[in-house]
Symmetry: C2
């Protein structure tokens, strides 16, 4: 029943918004990177007006910050802010996973396993952006089953705010395999173990935080 607008008729500001949002969420833009409206407009082939709307929207979602003079940049998050956002991820994603559990059939689990196997590839290539994208896809695949669009939207907003920082974090990471907690998540899904699932998701989400302390 969703009325999806055809891509070729999507408004200009939506194209800019989606393009920028994806880049930010996947960590393709470093923290503190400056952006200009004319630059965005030229890049996406539109005038300043749609670029401004897209930027304003991303500022409202915390994906960009705007100085008092109106200059745009990706935010450099303080450690306190990162802790807060990780706590929000834990709260919301545990709830989403819990709601998805009763509907998580074998087909879904297999799809998640496939995605998780793909993480090994991007990890071996030292591809930080690919790692973030695949990791988020793993989580989103599960959460979509929760049938909770408002919660998922909030969750993605948090991902968005963490995007530039995640790149920095995962860039430091010397990882050789997919996250260990992903296997725990999959195991808990298969056995229908709700407490185990909640713990596994919480651990997976907050593990990145521990790298900050070191």
């Amino acid at each position: 029943m969703h009325s999806l607008r055809p891509l070729e008729t999507a408004s200009a500001h939506d194209r800019v918004y989606r393009g920028l949002r994806t880049r930010i969420m996947h960590g393709q833009i470093a923290p503190g990177q400056a952006l200009t409206l004319r630059g965005l407009g030229k890049e996406f082939g539109v005038s300043m007006t749609p670029a401004r709307e897209a930027a304003q929207r991303l500022v409202a979602e915390g994906a960009l910050q705007m100085s008092i003079s109106g200059r745009l940049s990706t935010p450099e998050l303080s450690n306190e802010r990162i802790e807060e956002l990780a706590a929000l991820r834990a709260l919301i994603e545990v709830e989403l996973a819990s709601r998805a559990l009763p509907r998580a059939h074998m087909q879904l689990i297999e799809r998640m396993q496939n995605i998780n196997n793909g993480i090994a590839d991007v990890v071996s290539n030292r591809d930080a952006v690919g790692y973030i994208r695949t990791n988020l896809e793993f989580h989103r695949t599960l959460y979509l089953r929760a049938q909770a669009p408002a919660m998922l939207a909030m969750c993605e907003t948090v991902w968005l705010q963490l995007g530039p920082t995640m790149r920095m974090l995962y860039g430091r990471l010397r990882r050789t395999e997919a996250p260990q907690y992903h296997r725990l998540i999959l195991a808990a899904l298969q056995s229908g173990d709700e407490p185990g699932l909640r713990l596994a998701v919480r651990s997976d989400v907050t593990q990145g935080l521990r790298m900050l302390a070191s």
Copy 2:
């Protein structure tokens, strides 16, 4: 260290945004109410451009919805959506209250008591908007102590989405006194009872939902 911009130099779109946002959050606009950019512009004394930016931003936050043709209106929430938003309120506000508890000294509790006493007045006047505003002020006063701006922002976004619906809900309510759970919240704060506080906040936040079932 916050660099607050003086109000008299606030940008036009910020004035429109704040004005509209307050109205929506406090339930001054009924669900399904239509809005036009030119109308908003005229009302706030600005051209269409700032009105559009403010509207886009509120759409991004879920406070307004936009039809495929670009028409603006306050959303009419389904029961499932309301349940979801109430669950989000419960998740986030319980966490905020828990974080505020160690910092909630007597002065803060007294301030909250004063606000809560004010609820009796607006209730006796059958003032739905005043009730919502005062109720939210009660909660925000506590949550500000949590020192968690990202969480508070998410929380307020949920309030915003529920604004038009809250008016409808509380409009039906035949209430003669302040919410019972507010007293429990205050008692738990005074005694430093964290489990009791979490339960009281969760109950207060989800109580409105029960009116839907009836």
